[in-house]
Symmetry: C2
Amino acid sequence: MSPTEIPFVQSEMHPTRWGAPSSAAPLPEAARGLVELAFGLDEQPTRTGALPRPGLAADLVASLRAVVGARHVLDDDETRRLRTRGKSTPDLLRARAGDLSDAPDVVVRPGDHEEVAAVLAWAVEHHVAVVPFGGGTSVAGGLVARREGFAGLVSLDLVRMKRLLDVDPVSMTAVLEPGLRGPEAEALLAAKGLTLGHYPQSFEYATIGGFAATRSSGQSSAGYGRFDALVVGLRVATPRGEIALGSAPANAAGPDLRQLFLGSEGAFGVITAVTVRVRRRPARTTYEGWRWPSFDAGAEAMRTLAQAGLLPTVLRLSDEDETAINLAHPDEVGGAAGREAGAEAGGAPPGGCLMIVGHEGEPDVVAARRAAVTGVLEGLGGTALGEGPGAAWVRGRFGAPYLRDSMLDVGVLVETLETATFWSNRAALYAAVKEALTTSLGDGAIVLCHVSHVYETGCSLYFTVATRAGTDPLPRWLAAKAAASDAMMAAGATITHHHAVGTDHRPWLTREIGELGASVLRAVKTDLDPTGILNPGVLVP
Amino acid sequence: MSPTEIPFVQSEMHPTRWGAPSSAAPLPEAARGLVELAFGLDEQPTRTGALPRPGLAADLVASLRAVVGARHVLDDDETRRLRTRGKSTPDLLRARAGDLSDAPDVVVRPGDHEEVAAVLAWAVEHHVAVVPFGGGTSVAGGLVARREGFAGLVSLDLVRMKRLLDVDPVSMTAVLEPGLRGPEAEALLAAKGLTLGHYPQSFEYATIGGFAATRSSGQSSAGYGRFDALVVGLRVATPRGEIALGSAPANAAGPDLRQLFLGSEGAFGVITAVTVRVRRRPARTTYEGWRWPSFDAGAEAMRTLAQAGLLPTVLRLSDEDETAINLAHPDEVGGAAGREAGAEAGGAPPGGCLMIVGHEGEPDVVAARRAAVTGVLEGLGGTALGEGPGAAWVRGRFGAPYLRDSMLDVGVLVETLETATFWSNRAALYAAVKEALTTSLGDGAIVLCHVSHVYETGCSLYFTVATRAGTDPLPRWLAAKAAASDAMMAAGATITHHHAVGTDHRPWLTREIGELGASVLRAVKTDLDPTGILNPGVLVP
């Protein structure tokens, strides 16, 4: 199934798991034995917690109803539960423990830019904290705002803002509302023969507004560009009024202010429309596997492609351990890649590193680029594994978060973290983060890594960690996460390549951008949101 | 001569003309007759004006000497004259009229980041305005700061900061100091087999710091990327301290603060180092001409290439009038392009529009891309004119500003302005700006245009205007410029694609970015430069 054929996903996510309630599933039987061998099985029940009483005074709720209409202001338990936090493993652990202390008092659903602006005006008047909510897929604590000092906390749910506002087929741009989930946006564009081409792992649930607010990067960003490169224009509602940016494909009219709102995580304003560059839907897609004798050899091949101007649409590389785990777990989501890789490699012993190479576009362009890439990879010692591993990767490309829940069910904590650096620092960063995680988590932890995004000057490193949850997994994980984050800073890398800052990475942000960078963020925040109602405690140090 | 073979340019520019004093030349004899026919000849003498007395108190000059050493603080007439304003036609007209009222009181030449920081601390302490000076090539009034309210005005000349600080051949990045002129930076990189690939028309004199501070775009930016896309990291000295940005090739660690300093035009800080992406020097370069029956047809071909992912390294298209002028002026700098185009088109009648298509890179990559581009252009009705017009364009690519001086000598005012928009708005913007200029300037004015930069979603339009200077050219030109700028705003385009804001475009900036965008710029300015000493009156509305 090509990404653009993914059906509309209308369902809410499960309150304590990733994905629709219907997708909740136990660990596959075939994987269960291996997980037991590695970690032991320790079934973990999920507790149903009680919601805190809504803290927003009744007269304020009534005045909010007057702003957007009574049916778009919800304070029932079910809705509040569904708007509590995001989907990091700490978020899930708290939800499973029945901790709903971060629930909003009320959920408000404005229908357009003007209603968003009116809600913000209401929130300023009554000093109510506002948390913009798109797909609810944050894995960085972006939906856990501080409520102290406010008259209440409102989840500003963009779920009603799902229109394709405009398409310019000459300029190849489209104007999308922020509440459109990935598959919904793709379906609307597909009806016009177009695609956005943005497929982060959260694609099924994450929204256009969220992509912009977090400067998202997708699995096909090597070909289509990161989301910040796709954005041509933005419309933003702030407590001080509207700002609309994007007067030309490029300009020199001072600083590029769009880049202040891309990555602003709801702290500077609410993005109410995004003008994006679109492409014609690819007539041909091909994804294939390559095997490398080592992570270093594969990464060097990636560097060669990037610096030769030959980046495929999709390019990723698993390290030795991640490749081996995929081989060992035949029923794991996405795990078939390794098995088929082994089979197609002609019975060669397992080992080495699996690379996925994908091309999308017009058939002749795909053929030409594939030939050029194949020539380079063969010349560097890669072994072509055919389309089997590629098809397996496509099948499982959005699957890992579901598996995480199944692992949590049996007492295995799984979490991911990611960073990026320049090529000359890649090996050192890899070693430092891996060392920090394994030292912090101790024996029995498994640390896997893949290169998820590739640039001319460097790449990202995406780590997956699995460890026995034990009796008190949260502080143990937070200590490991802190150790990994410290290691990233010590190595001169970034605290996040595509997961954004939220509350989880905020303690490290000043080390990355400096005291003066933090000061600039505070100055912009103060200018646009003088009373600090927007996502308080998120992003801005 | 390939751009990277251009010799080091060590000379200062002429105080009242573009380029080195030795390059000053009368209008070529062959062009003189044509210019006389079109405009009449009205030889204009250049007056030597008197410099205003330095306004900075002697004790302040003495204290500045203590900061960087006496030999790096200059207040002689010659130096002050050379640091007065930039090189817009209004700047040149004022200089030719002997108006030196914008001369700095003193020119200070710090040698490194720490000395820049020390000069800024001195300027804050004594409330002295500071104008950062790179190549002095601004054509937007970027070097004409407001001095009212300050104890004096200092030109902070970056001429001593010309080092290649670091090269990372694995990550393909280099760290350059801001005072390096284009050819100097290329020469240092060429010694290591590398190139930056950034060639604005001001290339011979403009500096790395200026490229960054103005978000410059070059003639080869379709292939190498605009300067903002080349910048990986920045080090900036501000009145509140240092900021260093660029921890990874890409990240999601909040807003991209680099994009606040790219385009900051010296108003937020002084850029003291720029980390850029570099490429291997091209082994093969080829530039050729194509003829199109109309500007519209040629522009549509550009759009097709851009949206098919087939942008060459260089791509530009002259409108019918610009093409005809080039044909008619055989000795004009760059004008040979048209003549050779006519000849190589097999004696076809003149007319139509000339496109220049250039490819740079590895021979096989160039060959493949050239073949693909040729196929598209032939399919769309273009006529290949061979390498003659391309060679002529290369010879003249930096030449237009020299010709402008020769035209001013005989009483013809020549100036350029530029904008950009989306493809669907291109024709309307072209018509509106042309109409505004011709209406404002009246009979006898010539307005030429070319598409200078091409993107997937749109393009830039670069206008050249020639008109009889007459007795009082400045107000007449400023009225025409205002009319053109109003037309750009009315058409929803940008006030500048690559010339930057300076003082000349500042009155229009708020219309482009909105009141709230202007407010954000002021907030950032206030945070970084609380007493407003940096380039006062430039950029920030």
